[in-house]
Symmetry: C2
Subunit: 183 residues, 2 copies
């Protein structure tokens, strides 16, 4: 196994654990155990917990944005663009019962190392930017302020729906929640 592979496995494992239990609910030892190495080896690849958390968030954002696809290729229908984002949230709930990483980190934001805070903000800014960009290119005639409002409302609804569905232990709760729609 190459170092890249190990780094990748650590990131994947940490991602899943943080999305389930939260940043402060996860330790180097637990991650190491799950990967099958010693915690010192995790420190070799990621010197501090903040560095690991930031790397997890950076990778998550990249994967998420890749799944959304280039904004130029976003659906022309505003609702379809919203649905594409919402479907990613739903998939993480249905497939693994996990939060959105940055929804989790956002809740814990006041107790996170600065580099993790920065990456969490970056996720929200990129995601909101993608939605606004999709709206601009689409067929929805609206002001920039209206576009921003709908982007924020879409993301807030998705994140909140994940929390409610996980807490109530019922995926149908997620499906019963409608996104705000363009007027």
């Amino acid at each position: 196994m190459t170092a890249q592979d190990m780094k990748h496995r650590i990131l994947e494992t940490a991602d899943a654990m943080i999305r389930s239990r939260g940043y402060n609910g996860v330790s180097f030892r637990e991650i190491a155990d799950a990967v099958g190495v010693k915690s010192a080896s995790v420190h070799y690849h990621f010197p501090t917990k903040g560095a690991l958390g930031a790397a997890v968030a950076r990778r998550y954002t990249a994967t998420f944005m890749a799944a959304l696809g280039p904004v130029e290729e976003a659906p022309k229908s505003a609702t379809a663009a919203q649905d594409r984002l919402h479907a990613l949230a739903r998939a993480s709930l249905v497939e693994e019962n996990l939060m959105c990483l940055c929804g989790m980190l956002g809740a814990e934001i006041a107790d996170l190392p600065p580099e993790v805070v920065a990456e969490t903000r970056q996720f929200f800014e990129e995601t909101i930017g993608w939605l606004i960009g999709a709206f601009e290119q689409g067929d929805w005639a609206a002001s920039p302020a209206a576009r921003r409002k709908l982007a924020l409302g879409t993301l807030a609804t998705s994140e909140g729906a994940l929390i409610l569905a996980r807490t109530l232990g019922d995926i149908s709760v997620f499906d019963d929640i409608d996104l705000p729609r363009p007027q």
Copy 2:
């Protein structure tokens, strides 16, 4: 100072700390330091962390429901009922930059002691019940399914808006997010 007072101060302090940093981001010693006692004294009033967390959540739910008021006296307008709940979320953000306690606990739900999980669920069920009850008594003609959907959507939007506004460090983000509205 009576024992009741001390219990009350511990609950208040723990409430604020959990709503800022999360359940796993708070320790008995930090709570004790903030109150001005030793951690053993906190254990005297609340034997375990789970017991303390559950008591904090129970008190939070009671306070929240009291602020909403009896459902019989809820606004007859569905949107006004939604706004009453949303205003409570906004107040905790504006006045103390705090999450809704159960939004925070809901994010951490997979890493919480069972008694805290139960109280967190209770909060959501009571709050959703209040919204549905208000809709039933109000002037909005809709099916039970539609009422439930709007109640879930309202709560999800409020919780998500708190996360986004706190993460982006901008209260205007909260204010830019519109609640879903009755059709």
